[in-house]
């Protein structure tokens, strides 16, 4: 049994992927926590007396983030008001258990918890969306809706800052994914430790330089309870391939994760390169590269009985949205008919209800924060 590299006299329990050091439990906790503290202070992630929502999924990253944030806040007197913020997508058997874990976090760490549901935010649960669209593209919906749900939640809580549990592996994975997809715009900003989605509420990633292995080991040694089940809908999502590629490389050389993040950080896009300009969604105000943001397009599709709208190319979406506007009176017969994938399919069909306009049950503009359920 090797001894701790710090020469504290204790036996090592873990080989650090970042440095190769063998550390005992106590020295590992110290290194793990002080590195996160260093990340927070160097990037000036939080201002004293601000309110910080911690995006809590019940998974390992957010559980460790909540635990460490509470601990550092007390130890270094950050003077932060910490909240847990959870999103309930409405996936039977998935969130039920993980929300219980979040509630456990709430009790264990004595932090207030707010849960927002997709049903409240969008009028649809993920189960209902899957019933419309099938399982192939539902991760598109879930991901797009989740991103906005956190921002809307941050507004509701009037927080100054939203902290997420993205770890070093996640970020390296995202860099790889954006390279594989050729998404230069996202590649450019996915390594930022602070991002702003246009609402003035910064999103910060205190675990940006923390390895996944260390997060899991930390949770294990600290006996933190977290929830771990693959999303039932996403066993083979695209991210999974990037993730396995990264894990295979990490096995050969763990420092590859830091190197990929550094490469992403130092990458500069030529000033002459054409990047999509960002604007605010004309419907909901969320930052978007299109006039209508992805969430609003997906929602429109769902409510109009065209659930596959927004899955394809954005140029087609604009056309389809314009068509919907013109054909609003015709489309109610298609509502709930998921076989209709194209607005053209509709034009040949006669409207059964003679042009009633009451198709859209949820007007996007009406989704105001007052309507959100807070637990």
């Amino acid at each position: 049994m090797p001894v701790c590299s710090i020469h504290c006299g204790r036996n090592a329990v873990l080989k650090r992927p970042k440095t190769g050091d063998a550390l005992c439990k106590e020295c590992f906790f110290e290194a793990f926590e002080s590195e996160i503290h260093f990340t927070i202070t160097r990037a000036k992630l939080f201002k004293p007396n601000s309110t910080v929502a911690i995006a809590a999924s019940g998974g390992k990253d957010s559980t460790v983030l909540a635990y460490v944030m509470k601990m550092l806040n007390e130890k270094y007197n950050y003077k932060l008001k910490l909240f847990l913020l959870s999103i309930d997508e409405g996936i039977t058997g998935y969130r039920d258990d993980s929300l219980n874990t979040v509630k456990q976090n709430r009790d264990d760490y004595e932090m207030p918890l707010k849960i927002l549901s997709y049903k409240d935010l969008y009028g649809w649960t993920m189960d209902e969306i899957v019933a419309e669209i099938g399982r192939k593209n539902n991760c598109t919906f879930c991901g797009v809706f989740r991103r906005q749900a956190l921002d809307r939640g941050a507004h509701l809580l009037k927080v100054d800052c939203l902290a997420t549990g993205h770890n070093a592996d996640d970020i390296a994975e995202t860099v790889l994914m954006n390279i594989l997809r050729g998404d230069v715009a996202r590649l450019n900003r996915c390594t930022s430790i602070v991002t702003d989605n246009g609402d003035g509420i910064p999103r910060v990633k205190p675990l940006k330089y923390t390895y996944e292995k260390e997060i899991v080991m930390y949770a294990y040694f600290k006996k933190l309870v977290y929830f771990s089940t693959e999303c039932v809908f996403a066993p083979n999502a695209y991210r999974g391939h990037a993730r396995m590629l990264l894990k295979d490389m990490e096995k050969i050389d763990p420092s590859v994760i830091m190197k990929i993040i550094q490469s992403g950080e130092t990458l500069k896009v030529k000033s002459t390169a054409k990047l999509p300009t960002l604007m605010n969604c004309t419907r909901c105000g969320y930052i978007s590269s299109q006039e209508t943001c992805k969430a609003c397009v997906l929602l429109e599709g769902l409510n109009k009985g065209l659930p596959k709208l927004g899955i394809g190319k954005s140029s087609k979406v604009k056309k389809a949205l314009d068509d919907i506007q013109q054909n609003d009176s015709l489309c109610c017969s298609a509502r709930g008919n998921s076989n209709v994938n194209n607005i053209k399919d509709l034009k040949d069909k006669k409207c059964l209800c003679l042009g009633s306009q009451n198709v859209l049950s949820v007007q996007i503009d009406e989704i105001s924060l007052e309507k959100l359920t807070v637990e």
Binding site: M1, P2, N11, A12, V13, L14, K15, A22, S57, G58, G59, K60, D61, S62, S98, G165, D169, D170, E212, K213, I215, V216, M217, Y220, F221, Y226, F227, S228, T229, E230, C231, R243, M244, K247, D248, E250, K251
Partner: protein
């Protein structure tokens, strides 16, 4: 008297195992090992987190590498490729030997001792 105390081991596995090792009934030199699966890895072994197993240890050294194949043949319920890769665990699954990182102990070459507790934790599930 049986060398395997696993509930869900079947006759076919026992006879295979006996054939491979040349032992069938061993009482004195059993190697008792506690296996634990967590972080989502328990899904691969029928959602049973703890497995108490015993191996005949007379004239035979058991490494974790051997153990991995035994797990594959005997208790993995589904998709062995999610557990094993290239003679080791799939990258992203952490292994602890008596609460210490197996990377400190020569990983697959570690020789099992009686009453060892081996923990497998998946880092690949949920965020």
């Amino acid at each position: 008297m049986c060398y395997v105390s696993l509930r869900n081991v079947n006759i076919k596995n026992i006879s295979n195992f006996a054939f491979q090792t040349g032992y069938f009934l061993i009482s004195m030199a059993d190697l008792k090992i506690a296996l634990e699966f967590g972080g989502g890895a328990e899904v691969l072994v029928g959602n049973q987190k703890v497995h108490e197993v015993a191996f005949p240890s007379k004239n035979k050294v058991w490494t974790i590498g051997d153990l991995l194949y035994w797990i594959k043949d005997n208790i993995l319920k589904e998709r062995p490729e999610l557990f094993l890769q290239d003679g080791s665990v799939r990258p992203g699954i952490l292994v602890l030997v008596n609460d210490a990182d197996w990377e400190l102990m020569d990983t697959v070459n570690y020789e099992l001792k009686s009453n060892d507790r081996i923990v497998f934790i998946s880092t690949l599930h949920g965020g």
